[in-house]
């Protein structure tokens, strides 16, 4: 059998082309009249969480479009997207490139909490500013991990758990079981729920942690059924959440026990279809929140993408709103000036009134409890808001993940 080997000429040709490719800078950026404010978005474009990265990017593109030329401080805003694949090592490398080679010092759109933890210690050295839109791990704003140039605009896992616990205080169910994914966010969420549900006088009979990447939940579903609990708290996201709900519905679990979830994602509702109706949960952002600010955003979003904005879209939009407000207040994009500008900054965003706390850089957000219901207006079920809790009630004590007040 004849084997092909490359000839010298072929090697030369391919080699030169490859060298040119390796030396080439990233794809062309058009020169703009006023120098744009550049924001680096190291997010997940390919890989397991790609859908969240897609949502981050589409919100950024919408913002870029609607802001246009006038933008912030009279300058347009430009976003530089980088693919981290959800890997902390890649995130560090891409951020280093954004900072060291492209001279960008504003970072947003990071998806995974471990990516955030990897870059936070480097922010001072990079003189970079990082605002989180979706990292939920409660520990990020505690004394041990917080750094000055980091702010979290979004609802964290403890806040979501707290919201649900407050709601369940008046619910008929007395005994609960919790099921979470066995990594930082899942543990944070379940831990917070355990603390909170006991604080409101109810019981948590058991905690179940499922291994990361688990596909078949039959064992755990059976365990939940056998526990005799009346309510089940779920701290699962993305692929794991969908697998669990699909399978739980097949076991008719929702008929036997009320399920509560810490994250309600429109993408999951769409995939699960009718099976998602009746799901009750804490929502970081619900498009059904009826304020003029949110209506404007939702309508613009629907017009552009013909899709309902998901929680990541809303949180990303809010994070950008807060960032731009701080830039305007500081009249600068330098990290050193942005930090004091963002502390104690209060704005009305798509989620209502939000205050960026000085003591731990956590955004005080309202808590939303939603129930998924069928809709005449939309092709898929939608999350209807059943209760809203004031931000002081659900944001943890400064620099901690706990709450002194019983609630």
């Amino acid at each position: 059998m004849k084997q092909t080997h490359l000839t010298r000429r072929a090697v030369l040709r391919t080699g030169t082309a490859a060298a040119a490719l390796l030396a080439a800078p990233p794809y062309l950026r058009l020169a703009t009249a006023a120098t744009p404010i550049k924001i680096g978005i190291p997010t997940v474009i390919t890989g397991g969480y790609a859908i969240l990265g897609t949502q981050v990017m589409r919100t950024c593109k919408l913002v870029e479009k609607t802001l246009g030329g006038k933008g912030v401080l009279g300058r347009p805003v430009a976003f530089e997207y980088r693919d981290t694949q959800g890997n902390p090592a890649d995130c560090v490398r891409k951020c280093q490139e954004l900072v060291e080679r492209d001279g960008i010092n504003l970072i947003a759109g990071v998806i995974v909490s471990s990516e955030a933890r990897a870059i936070m210690p480097k922010l001072a050295e990079w003189k970079a500013f990082f605002i989180s839109h979706g990292c939920g791990d409660g520990l990020l704003t505690t004394k041990e991990f917080l750094v000055p140039n980091f702010f979290r605009a979004n609802t964290s896992a403890p806040m979501g758990a707290r919201t649900l616990a407050l709601y369940l205080k008046d619910a008929p169910e007395k005994n609960f079981i919790a099921l979470g994914s066995d990594y930082a966010w899942g543990r944070s969420s379940v831990g917070a729920f355990e603390e909170q549900i006991k604080a409101v006088g109810k019981n948590l009979t058991d905690k179940i942690f499922t291994p990361v990447g688990n596909k078949d939940y039959s064992t755990y579903i059976t365990k939940v059924i056998q526990s005799g609990a009346q309510g089940c708290y779920i701290a699962l996201q993305g692929d794991e959440a969908r697998s669990f709900y699909s399978q739980a519905t097949q076991y008719e679990l929702p008929k036997r026990i009320q399920l509560f979830t810490e994250i309600v994602a429109q993408a999951d509702i769409r995939t699960l279809g009718k099976d998602s109706i009746g799901m009750l949960g804490s929502s970081r952002y619900a498009f059904t929140y009826d304020t003029p600010e949110n209506k404007r955003f939702t309508e613009a979003f629907l017009a552009e993408y013909k899709e309902i904005p998901d929680w990541t879209d809303g949180e990303m939009y809010q994070a950008l709103q807060i960032l731009f407000a701080a830039i305007e207040k500081a009249d600068s994009t330098e990290a050193a000036k942005l930090v004091p500008a963002m502390e104690n900054l209060e704005i009305t965003s798509v989620k209502g009134s939000v205050l960026m706390r000085q003591c731990d850089h956590q955004g005080e957000n309202q808590g939303f409890v939603v129930k998924v219901a069928a809709s005449d207006k939309y092709a898929e079920p939608i999350p209807e808001i059943v209760k809203i809790y004031p931000r002081q009630a659900i944001t943890p004590d400064c620099l901690s993940t706990g709450y002194k007040a019983a609630g």
């Binding site: 490719l21 080439a24 990233p26 902390p88 490398r93 909490s113 990897a118 210690p121």
Partner: protein
């Protein structure tokens, strides 16, 4: 001749380093760490035909061990790295002993089992390892006698290139030694070597431990470079990628995998900037290499240089058996 050319390249890099742009230096440092990681695997794959699907364990062990020594004991940087490597080697000894009980695919799967177990253990003992978040904020403490040269970007690059060059020389010596000759024999025909009276199991055990040692060095260097470690370092995808680096670079040449490692990192980085669907190109590049350039990059380089069919050390004349 080859030695002179390599020394010239190293010298050129060292001279250029202080003038390079910061990010180029960053990327190059990481590329060289990957190169070292790939070279360590070549000892097993290229020289002894021991395919490993779990070499991430070496990398991860070195990385985490060094992370903990630097963070908790504030050892001077070079010592911290050495301590990390030593710890990793200690753990590697029993692992290698178990793995070398088998051959072929079983061996590969045993290495995979240990790497995945390591991954699971990281999650299990989250108080020490930080669980899914890993360990961050790892410092580069000043070296012995107040030497702080390695703390800077250029200084660290020199440290990495020094470690890589040193490791390369050590590996060369090992491979050219009688020990290396036995490895070559095992690679060609294990049964025959055993018939000749060699305890092939012991040799394989030794080469796996050595490979883990150099792999751990790469991991240790990475920790101080990046300032953090995360469980992804142990994941089987890392093992798959380093294996690809070795084969794309040219197995059994030591130099090839170094180039393969650097090439892989830089290609992935640059490609993901330019094209959104870069994995398509990536996969196609691998397939192209296999089909058209089976001797890898180094094989191509040698062919280009000599216009003769390339030979890896695997086919070079052996010392008398």
């Amino acid at each position: 001749m080859q030695r002179v050319a390599l020394a010239a390249v190293v010298l050129a890099l060292c001279v250029a380093a202080p003038f390079a742009s910061p990010f180029t230096l960053t990327l190059l440092t990481e590329a060289l760490i990957f190169g070292l990681f790939a070279m360590s695997l070549d000892l097993m794959v290229g020289y002894t035909r021991l395919y490993s699907f779990g070499h991430a364990a070496a990398y991860g062990l070195g990385a985490y061990a060094t992370a903990l020594t630097l963070l908790h004991f504030q050892l001077p940087l070079p010592l911290g790295i050495l301590a990390g490597v030593a710890l990793a080697i200690i753990v590697a000894v029993p692992i290698a002993w178990v793995c070398t009980k088998s051959t072929g695919v079983s061996f590969a799967m045993l290495t995979l089992a240990f790497a995945q177990l390591g991954y699971a253990m990281l999650y299990r003992f989250k108080d020490v390892t930080g669980g899914s978040d890993g360990v961050g904020g790892i410092p580069r403490p000043p070296g012995p006698f107040g030497l702080d040269f390695f703390q800077g970007k250029v200084g660290y690059f020199y440290l990495v290139i020094f470690c890589l060059a040193g490791s390369y020389l050590l590996c060369r010596m090992l491979v050219a030694s009688p020990f290396g000759a036995v490895l070559a024999g095992i690679r060609e025909n294990d049964a025959k070597m055993r018939a000749l009276g060699y305890n092939t199991r012991a040799y394989k055990w030794a080469v796996v431990v050595v490979a883990y040692g150099f792999g751990a060095l790469a991991g240790a260097l990475y920790t101080a470079f990046a300032g953090f470690v995360a469980p992804e370092l142990f994941f089987w995808l890392v093992s798959g990628r380093v294996l690809i680096m070795v084969i794309v670079g040219g197995a059994g040449t030591l130099i090839g995998p170094i180039i393969g490692g650097a090439f892989f990192l830089i290609l992935e980085h640059q490609l993901s900037e330019v094209i959104e669907f870069w994995p398509l190109i990536f996969g196609a590049v691998f397939i192209a290499f296999v089909m058209l350039a089976p001797e890898g990059i180094w094989g191509l380089v040698r062919k280009f240089a000599r216009a003769k069919p390339a030979r890896s050390d695997a086919e070079a004349p052996r010392a008398a058996t």
